[in-house]
C-alpha cells in the first residue's frame, strides 16, 4: 500500500483554523439525520403514512406475502419503500465517494463520474447486459459487472488521452470526457436501435434513473460494492491529501502515484458502475456532495471529507427519491435524476462563477 511519511498529513490537512472535532461532530449529526430521514421518508410517497405507522410496521417485521389478508401498509413499507430507501442511501453514498476520489485524482473541483465519461461507459455496459437479458445471471451481479467493465474502459480511455509525458492535463481530460461521453451516447443509441422495441423501452426506463424497482438482494449487492469501494478509498485518503500538492511532490513524498491513480480509477469506476447498474443514470450527486462535505468538514482533509461525503450523499439521495415519488399528481413518478439535476445544475453554475473569480 501507499506509504506516507509521518510528517506529511499535518501539512496536507492544513485545515485553515478548523477545530479537529468539527468534522466528526458533523458526521454524527449527518448519521442521525439519515436515520431520521429514513423513517420520515418511509412514510412519504403515493400514499402517506405517519412515522408512528412506519415504526409499527417495522416492529411487526416483514409480512408473510402468502397470508390471505395483508395490510397494504406492510407490503408498501417492506417490499417497496424499504428497498428503495436503502438503495437511495447506497447509490448516494457510492456516487459521492466516487466524486471525492475523482476530484482528488484530477485535482479539479468540477470532476464527477459524468464529466469524465465513467457513467456513459457504465451505461453502455449495463445496456448490453440488459439486452442480453442477463439481469439474473451471476446472482444478479452480471449487470454491475458489465457496467463496471464499461466504466473502467471509458475512464482508462479518457485518462490515457489526457496524459502527455507523465502529466495529466486537466483541459484534455475534460475535453476527452466530453468526447468519449458523446461517442458512447451514440453507441447507446445504436444499441437501442438494433434491439427490439420492448427491450429498448425496458432498458431506457431503467437507465433514466429510478429506484422504483429496487429489491433487497440488489441493495445487498450494491451495498457490498459501496462498503468495499469506500474502504479502499479510505485507505487512500491520506495519499489523496498528499496528491493534492501535485503529482511530482507526491512522488517525492513517497506516494506510489501510478498505483494510487489506478486504485482511484478502478474504485471510482466500480462505485459508479454499481449505481448505474441498479439505479440508472443519476447526475450531479458525485459533483455537488464532495463540495458540501468539504464545507461541512471545514477542511479539505480527505480522511474526514470522505466519510462525511458518503453519508451526505446518502442523505441527499433519500430526499431526492422521496421527492421523485411524491411530487407528481396522479401517482406518477419522476426519474430521480431529474430531481438531482434540478438541485445540482444551479450549484454547478455557482461553483463555476466562484472559480472564475
Amino acid at each position: 500500500m501507499t506509504t506516507v511519511p509521518p510528517e506529511q498529513p499535518q501539512t496536507a490537512r492544513a485545515g485553515r483554523g478548523s477545530k479537529p472535532g468539527r468534522a466528526w461532530l458533523m458526521l454524527a449529526l449527518l448519521l442521525g439525520a439519515l436515520l431520521l430521514s429514513a423513517i420520515l421518508a418511509a412514510g412519504l410517497g403515493a400514499v402517506h403514512y405517519s412515522p408512528a405507522q412506519v415504526l409499527a410496521a417495522l416492529r411487526h417485521g416483514p409480512p408473510n406475502l402468502d397470508a390471505a389478508d395483508i395490510d397494504p401498509v406492510q407490503i408498501t413499507l417492506w417490499s417497496l419503500r424499504l428497498p428503495r430507501i436503502l438503495m437511495a442511501m447506497v447509490v448516494g453514498g457510492s456516487l459521492a465517494a466516487s466524486g471525492v476520489a475523482l476530484q482528488s485524482l484530477l485535482r479539479n473541483d468540477l470532476a464527477d463520474p459524468y464529466v469524465v465519461g465513467v457513467s456513459s461507459g457504465a451505461s453502455v455496459g449495463a445496456e448490453i447486459a440488459y439486452l442480453r437479458h442477463a439481469e439474473n445471471v451471476l446472482g444478479g451481479a452480471a449487470v454491475p459487472v458489465a457496467a463496471f467493465a464499461g466504466g473502467v474502459a471509458a475512464m482508462t480511455l479518457v485518462y490515457g488521452m489526457a496524459r502527455r509525458g507523465g502529466q495529466v492535463l486537466v483541459t484534455s481530460l475534460l475535453l476527452g470526457g466530453v468526447v468519449v461521453s458523446a461517442f458512447l451516447g451514440a453507441v447507446s443509441t445504436l444499441i437501442l436501435q438494433i434491439s427490439s422495441p420492448d427491450d429498448a423501452f425496458r432498458t431506457l426506463n431503467r437507465l433514466m434513473g429510478s429506484l422504483q424497482d429496487s429489491t433487497l438482494p440488489q441493495c445487498a449487492i450494491a451495498g457490498g460494492f459501496l462498503v468495499f469501494g469506500a474502504l479502499i478509498l479510505f485507505t487512500q485518503s491520506r495519499a489523496m491529501n498528499v496528491f493534492a500538492l501535485g503529482e511530482e511532490s507526491a512522488k517525492q513524498l513517497g506516494v506510489d502515484t501510478e498505483r494510487f491513480k489506478s486504485t482511484l480509477i478502478v474504485t471510482a469506476s466500480l462505485l459508479t458502475a454499481s449505481t448505474v447498474a441498479f439505479a440508472g443514470m443519476i447526475g450531479f450527486v458525485g459533483l455537488i456532495v464532495p463540495h458540501a462535505a468539504r464545507r461541512l468538514a471545514g477542511t479539505p482533509d480527505h480522511v474526514r471529507v470522505l466519510p462525511l461525503a458518503t453519508v451526505a450523499g446518502a442523505l441527499l439521495m433519500v430526499w431526492a427519491d422521496t421527492l421523485a415519488r411524491s411530487i407528481m399528481p396522479d401517482s406518477r413518478e419522476l426519474p430521480v435524476g431529474v430531481i438531482t439535476a434540478f438541485l445540482g445544475a444551479p450549484f454547478f453554475i455557482y461553483l463555476l462563477r466562484r472559480h472564475g473569480r
Partner: protein, 302 residues
Amino acid sequence: MSSLTPPLTKTRSDSHHTPMRFRPLAICVVLLIGLSSTVLCAKAAPQKPVLTPPQRIISLSPGVTEMLFALGLGKKIVGDTVYCDYPEAAKKIAKIGDVRPNYEKIVALKPDMIVVDGVAEKSAAARLKQLHQPVFIILPSSFAAVENSLLALGRATGRSEQARAVVAGMEHKRRQAAALAKAHVGRRPRVFFVATLRPLWTAGRGTFVDDVIAIAGGDNSASSVQGYAEYSKELLVSKPPDVIFAGEHDLKTIRTDPALRQLPAIRDNRVAGDGGEMIQRPGPRLADAAVYIAYVLYGGSR
C-alpha cells in the same frame, strides 16, 4: 446524461410536461409492447377461477378500462391510469400512474383484481405478482382476441351474460363493416395508419390495428413490417397509400410536413382521424373503429 438521447427518450421525457403530449407516449408504449403481446398470446393460460366476483378492480390501461365499463363494472374500478379517458367517468377514478404503474398506490387501494393487458409494461405484471397482488392478464392482440378477452373478463367477474352481449354487438358491427367493404368492387384501398408521426411509427402485421383495417376492407400498406415499427417516409412516398389515418393532433402536422403533404392522399384530402384513439385501443370500441374505417373507405362520405 448525454448518452441517453435517442429519439425515444425525447418522446418520453417531453410527455411529462404537457397533457397534450401524453398521447404519443401512450402510443409509443402500445407500439413497443405490441410485439411482445403477439408472442405471449399462446400463453393465455386459463386463469385461476375466481369464487366471489371482484369488488375492487384496477385497470392498467385504457383499453382494459373501456372493457370493464362495457361489462358494467365501471363502479367497481378503484384505480386506472392517467390515459384512461373513455368513457367520461373513467377520468374521475383514482389514478395509479402512467405506463409505469405506481405499486405503492396499487397496494394501498387493496384491489382484488388487477387487469393487465399488453399496453402495461410487461415487467409490471411480474412485479405485481411478486408482491402477491391478484393480477389478471388479457392479451387483446387482434379483433378476435379482444372479444375473447371480454369473455374471459366476463367469466372472472361474474358478468358472462353481459360479455356475450358486448361481443354480439361487436360481431354485428363487424359484419356491418364487412358488408360495406363487400359492396365495393375493385382494388382494396391501401391504408396507412400513423401511430406516431415523429418518429413515424405504424402498425404492421400481427397487430389488432392491421386486423381491424383488414376487417374494414382496407389493405394495410405497412403489412411488410412486423408489429409496431418505425416506417420510412421514403417507403411511404414510393408506395403511396390511398387513405391515411392519424391522431387528430398529427393530422395538422402531416398537412404541413414538406414530404408528406405531397402524398396523393393528403392532396386529395383522403385523411381521417383515429376517432379519439378508437382505432388504437384494444377494447369494445374496436368494432366501432371497424365501421368507421369502412365508412371512410367506402361510405362516400368523404
